[in-house]
């Protein structure tokens, strides 16, 4: 059997062009597309600031959005971005645990450690904090959140009508955390989430420090290397670090972003690639699109399969281009090809996001 390719769909720009309930419905449509194609998860990026210098469109706060989407979908995993610099650990733990309950175990957390320039100005924070300080804060934050998730054993609530015992205090674990950045007493006021302590955590890992962090804590690494070689180098660097933490290689999934441009002919696909370069936003970073994979469905499947076979990726987060031949065509044409090759499944075969990801 082939190694399974994991697939996520980026929700960047979803809902564009609307406000009110229409905005939500546009986002839901994109998500339903992902669910219909059996994507493991949808990824909701975030910046708590409006980039008014660029092509900004107003969106919705990801954790809030996830809860609404959880109520109207059944399978697809839901990964929200939240920064440990902007959030409070108790709040974030109860939100993620709540979404995990609401979704029946489909919640994930894309952990960002920094605040962007715009975010620092909206939250009254210092700019240019050293990476080491942000890293230390993130470690403490994550450790608090994970321990809060298991404040209550899974069987802590007998809710026994006869004896009148609702909760078993012996199965409660108070946190009593006092560290460099946070003091949190606990316990969490939410029962243990369906995925327990192990709600999947995604991070970026481009620097050596971030790779150390990812190797210690993350379940998924998502960045946007522009070439297969760059992806392979990152893949090796992160996976090599896992053994230091007693983790096997398959316990962490490398899922780079790729921008597909699907067309009936290679010529047409190359034209689309040209169009994509032409409309590149000058403010856009060099890694905004990851690798651009342009071609016929079979050609794109070859490329993706090649990345998996050559240890450049364990799966992909599919990015949107705003051009024809994007996500809709990827779902309609490339996913069936990947299914024929037995690289991706055709239905959801597990109950939780962790299960989909084989973690």
């Amino acid at each position: 059997m082939n190694r399974r390719m994991r697939l996520g769909l980026s929700m960047a720009g979803a809902g564009e062009g609307a406000t009110g309930a229409a905005l939500f419905e546009n986002i839901l449509r994109r998500l339903q597309l992902a669910e219909s194609a059996g994507f493991d998860f949808a990824l909701f990026p975030d910046e708590a600031a409006a980039a008014v210098g660029g092509a900004f469109h107003a969106g919705l706060e990801p954790l809030t959005l996830l809860s609404a989407l959880a109520a109207v979908t059944r399978h697809v995993g839901l990964i929200a971005t939240a920064s440990t610099r902007l959030q409070d650990p108790f709040h974030l733990a109860r939100k993620l645990a709540s979404i995990d309950h609401l979704s029946g175990g489909r919640a994930g957390w894309n952990l960002a450690t920094a605040a962007t320039g715009g975010e620092t100005r909206n939250f009254g924070l210092p700019v240019d904090e050293p990476a080491a300080a942000l890293d230390a804060r993130a470690r403490e934050f994550l450790s608090i959140v994970r321990r809060l998730f298991v404040s209550w054993d899974a069987d802590a609530f007998p809710r026994d009508l006869a004896s009148g015992i609702y909760m078993d205090r012996a199965k409660m674990h108070r946190l009593e955390h006092a560290g460099a950045h946070y003091k949190v007493r606990g316990p969490l006021d939410v029962a243990q989430p369906p995925q327990g302590e192990a709600i999947p955590v995604m991070t970026s890992a481009t620097t050596a420090d971030a790779q150390d962090f990812a190797a210690e804590f993350a379940d998924i690494v998502h960045d946007r290397p522009a070439t297969a070689d760059a992806a392979r180098a990152q893949y090796r660097a992160v996976k090599a670090r896992l053994s230091r933490h007693g983790r096997p290689p398959e316990s962490l999934l490398m899922m780079p972003g790729v921008t597909p441009l699907v067309a009936g002919t290679q010529q047409r696909a190359d034209d689309l690639r040209g169009a994509l370069y032409d409309r590149a936003d000058p403010d856009e970073g060099p890694d905004a699109r990851g690798a651009i994979v342009a071609g016929t469905p079979a050609h794109i499947a070859d490329i993706l399969e090649g990345w998996i076979a050559s240890d450049a990726a364990d799966g992909f987060v599919v990015l949107t281009s705003g051009l024809p031949g994007g996500v809709e065509d990827f779902v309609a044409l490339v996913v069936p090809e990947l299914q024929r090759r037995d690289l991706v499944g055709s239905s959801y075969e597990a109950a939780t996001l962790r299960g989909y990801l084989g973690l």
Partner: protein, 449 residues
């Protein structure tokens, strides 16, 4: 001029407000983590044309190791985070307003503004905000504080917080997003507004990364009997959740809050005072009483003793249900701030005067106590509500159902039709948004010409 109408909210605390609600055989076993339970309550409230669903919240499990307060025998300490419950309900309902509790002490205004604006978009304008300043010591310990802030500190922060949130909601004019494919202009820069707030507690540049919410400004509800709390209500709130068991006290409070509005240039009608009410309704008074008695029979004396302690009664756990209420002093420690300790003292005095048993005291506290408790027929409940409404004690009510969904259904099916017959309550929703249904005026953007 149209007739003044009552506004009605439904407060949904997991299983309901009675301490023994979860022990009713018909209660859903996992109501505290089941969105289906919340959705059922929302559908009942929507069927009754109620204005909003209200979610109280404390981000804490309190007194969990206390020897006398048996939290392990109580419901409602574990819950789903309320703003997320509202977001999920927004996606599954169409008319009912949704009001979660969010603290100005433990949040940042930018994040809170975007969360509420987001749900207002998802719900197409049905969100409100129960603004609390958080007085609980144990909750504070979950956010790194060794003690709650003082009343002055909390209210100063809340005032600035609300100002920032409201400013952020006006970041984008309603027509800021032109999305003109021909010119390539996505939004009009002249219609984006930086807040550039620099204050005592917050520095926030803005603009918000969410478009102006459909309601423009979301209705804000506050509570609290202290002078600071009343002042905050008069300054920023659209509704106040009041908590009085007795008509004269409710009337005094009503006059006191409304009397503060003029100094903020507001008319008395711009702030709705919503009294908490716990109705237990039956077709006959006997039937209503039987519903209450059924709950009381399930109230374990150990839970009842904890309930008394929480409500500032002395520790009477040495006395059994059939013992007379002993002659003891009311505690001077205020487990719950901003409540009048005289209420407890008066009930102790009455208990001694009337020779009440402990069991009778449990019932007196369970039946309402801090809020208006009414056990009776739809006519009797409506009579009380009408009196409060017409004689300056309330503009509306937040119904605190003793058990869910049963007693919410009773209220919707029996009391609301009676209120409608009397012309006191709507027979159809007036508008699409919570603001419209509450009869609150449209608030133009502060930047509107």
């Amino acid at each position: 001029m149209t007739k003044r109408r009552m506004r009605l909210g439904l407060s949904v605390a997991n299983f309901g407000y009675h301490y023994a609600a979860w022990r009713l055989p018909e209660s859903r076993n996992e109501a505290d983590h089941d969105i289906g339970h919340h959705l059922r309550n929302a559908e009942i409230a929507e069927r009754g044309l109620m204005d909003f669903l209200f979610f109280a919240d404390l981000a804490v499990v309190r007194d969990v190791e206390h020897p006398t307060i048996r939290r392990d025998m109580e419901q409602s300490h574990l819950k789903l985070e309320p703003s997320l419950v509202c977001s999920a309900l927004a996606a599954c309902t169409s008319r009912i307003g949704l009001v979660p509790t969010m603290s100005t002490t433990f949040n940042q205004p930018y994040n809170l503004a975007r969360r509420l604006a987001s749900i207002d978009h998802i719900s197409n304008g049905r969100m409100g905000w129960n603004l609390v300043t958080s007085t609980d010591k144990e909750e504070a310990a979950n956010f790194g504080l060794s003690a709650p802030l003082t009343s002055e500190q909390r209210h100063a922060r809340a005032r600035e917080f609300a100002e920032v949130v409201r400013g952020l909601w006006d970041s984008w004019d309603d027509d800021a997003f032109m999305r003109d494919k021909v010119s390539g202009r996505y939004f009009d820069r002249a219609k984006v507004h930086f807040l550039n707030h620099e204050g005592t507690h917050f520095n926030v540049r803005g603009p918000l990364d969410t478009a102006r919410p459909p309601q423009g400004q979301l209705p804000i509800i506050t509570a609290g009997a202290s002078a600071n709390a009343q002042e905050l209500a008069a300054e920023v709130a659209d509704m106040v959740y009041s908590a009085f068991a007795h008509f004269d006290m409710a009337q005094n409070y009503y006059a006191s809050v409304k009397g503060r509005l003029a100094k903020y240039g507001r008319c008395p009608d711009s702030l709705r005072i919503m009294a908490g009410i716990m109705p237990i309704v039956g077709h006959t008074r006997e039937e209503a009483q039987a519903k209450f008695d059924r709950l009381q029979d399930l109230l374990d004396p150990r839970v009842a003793n904890g309930m008394l302690l929480i409500n500032q009664f002395p520790d009477m756990s040495a006395y059994g249900p059939d013992d007379k209420v002993p002659d003891m002093q009311v505690m001077d420690i205020h487990l719950t701030a901003a409540r009048d300790p005289g209420v407890t003292a008066r009930l102790m005095e009455r208990a001694r005067r009337e020779g009440m048993t402990m069991r009778q005291l449990y019932a007196a506290v369970s039946a309402g106590f801090w809020h208006l408790g009414v056990i009776g027929t739809p006519t009797e409940v409506a009579d009380t509500m009408q009196t409060w409404f017409e004689q300056g004690a309330a503009d509306g009510f937040v119904v605190q159902p003793p058990y869910l969904p049963g007693s919410a259904e009773d209220f919707v099916d029996m009391v609301i039709p009676e209120l409608q017959r009397r012309g006191l309550f709507r027979t159809e929703y007036e508008g699409r948004t919570l603001r419209q249904n509450l009869g609150l005026p449209v608030v133009p953007s502060r930047y509107a010409a």
